[in-house]
């Protein structure tokens, strides 16, 4: 898969807590990406099998709102995302990567 900066940002955000379920708005907040950029990225990651999506298990009437869809990295996605971001970090030896993540002196989030 072609790794762009938005893709790397989304992967980094998801890898921060690989088991966490993230809604679109959460990912927009974490990555700073607008919705029009985020959802095509999520679509590509799902198509590649790196990302799983599921609907919230709520009763919309009782909750007073529609069920939201959340995203989570698959096992393959976690491995591929770690490898991909490590490759990207290796390709940028100096400075903080533009897609976010841990600083140079810290252990990477992934």
């Amino acid at each position: 898969m072609r790794i762009t900066i938005p893709v790397a940002k989304v992967l980094a955000a998801l890898l921060a807590e690989p088991d966490a379920e993230r809604y679109g708005l959460d990912l927009m907040r974490m990555t700073g990406l607008p919705s029009g950029t985020l959802y095509p990225v999520l679509h590509r990651l799902r198509a590649a099998g790196w990302l799983a999506a599921d609907w919230e298990a709520i009763d919309p009437v009782a909750a007073g709102r529609p069920a939201r869809r959340y995203y989570r990295l698959t096992a393959e996605g976690v491995a591929e995302a770690r490898r991909t971001l490590a490759d990207l970090r290796a390709a940028i030896p100096d400075g903080r990567p533009s897609w976010g993540g841990a600083g140079p002196s810290e252990a990477p989030a992934w």
Binding site: M1, Y23, G24, L25, M28, P34, S35, G36, T37, Y39, P40, H43, R44, R46, A47, A48, G49, L51, A52, A53, D54, W55, E56, A57, I58, R65, P66, A67, R68, R69, T74
Partner: protein, 314 residues
């Protein structure tokens, strides 16, 4: 309230730009997020969320080039071979009709039988065309319409060149009118189908195709058979009264005047004596053209990726 409505409208626009099989889930997902933003009073963010989706590029497909080439080849094969199959249907139906006619020896069933066989085989071809169109690489209503009609025109030209046919030049204006009219009809049909209005697309397509074929037949008859007044006693004149023009196409298919005074038996004979194959070609091509167009329009924009298993909504 106004901002919420505006956001919903923008989400609907955004969803339409995604592949048809993803639209409903995406719309539902975005609507839920918009609801969260609206409930928390973040109206500006809500509008920004919807505007960004509406103006951004839809999900860029993960294009597998080998797969795209394979699909392009399949699309070309379907579009080029189907018109030849339509011509084949007319020929095979004529042969079958002759076999049955020789057995039954009922001249009045000749044309209805030919039409019925042609229509039946054309529907079978249309069912196959629906499958082929599912993965078409054609995008946009006009491209789909032209992609369907131009090969039909090429196949008819090829058939006219290869097959020995007398008076072929006389049929050209009618055929050109039919091809042009069919293009317009399919264009409108594809536009409707792309918006999810499939039933309306079918109705428009069927009625539009009938009108276009009828006009093509009328153009031929008016251009090649003189008009007339009253039918004279004794030997009838070799003329066709224009008053029954809308029925000529159906008379060509059924050899019947539906119990109306016009066209007379002699007029139907005069018409079908000169215009026999073209109405059958219209009948053979129309189901395929409509089925392919509607299915292709519903498939666009092309979604060349196989998604991971979609979540089942709660």
């Amino acid at each position: 309230m106004v901002t919420r409505r505006a956001a919903e409208m923008l989400l609907a626009i955004a969803a339409r730009r995604w592949p048809a099989d993803l639209r409903d889930d995406l719309h539902r997902e975005w609507d839920a997020e918009v609801h969260v933003l609206a409930a928390s009073g973040r109206r500006t963010r809500m509008l920004g969320f919807a505007v960004s989706l509406a103006v951004s590029r839809a999900g860029s497909p993960l294009v597998d080039r080998a797969m795209m080439h394979r699909r392009a080849r399949r699309t070309a094969a379907a579009l080029l071979l189907a018109p030849l199959a339509c011509i084949g249907i007319v020929v095979v139906s004529a042969v079958l009709m002759n076999v049955v006619f020789n057995w039954l020896l009922l001249p009045q069933v000749q044309l209805p039988l030919w039409s019925a066989l042609t229509a039946g085989l054309a529907v079978l071809l249309a069912v196959s065309a629906t499958r082929w169109a599912r993965h078409t690489v054609l995008g946009g209503p006009l491209r789909i319409a032209l992609g369907v009609v131009l090969p039909i025109g090429a196949a008819l030209a090829l058939a006219g060149y290869v097959l020995p046919a007398e008076g072929l030049a006389r049929t050209v204006p009618g055929l050109l009118l039919w091809l042009a009219g069919l293009t317009l009809v399919l264009w409108a049909v594809a536009a409707l189908a792309a918006r999810g209005r499939v039933r309306a697309a079918w109705w428009l397509g069927l009625l539009g195709a009938l009108v276009v074929a009828d006009l093509a037949v009328i153009l031929f008859v008016v251009g090649n058979i003189p008009g007339s007044g009253a039918v004279a006693a004794g030997s009838p004149p070799d003329t066709v009264d224009r008053i029954s023009a809308p029925l000529w196409l159906f008379a060509c298919w059924t050899d019947w005047n539906f119990g109306l005074p016009r066209p007379t038996r002699w007029e139907i004979f005069l018409i079908t004596d000169q215009l026999l194959v073209e109405p059958m070609l219209y009948l053979a091509c129309t189901p395929y053209a409509l089925a392919y167009t509607i299915r292709a329009a519903r498939s666009e924009p092309t979604a060349p990726v196989a998604l991971a298993p979609a979540p089942s909504p709660v």
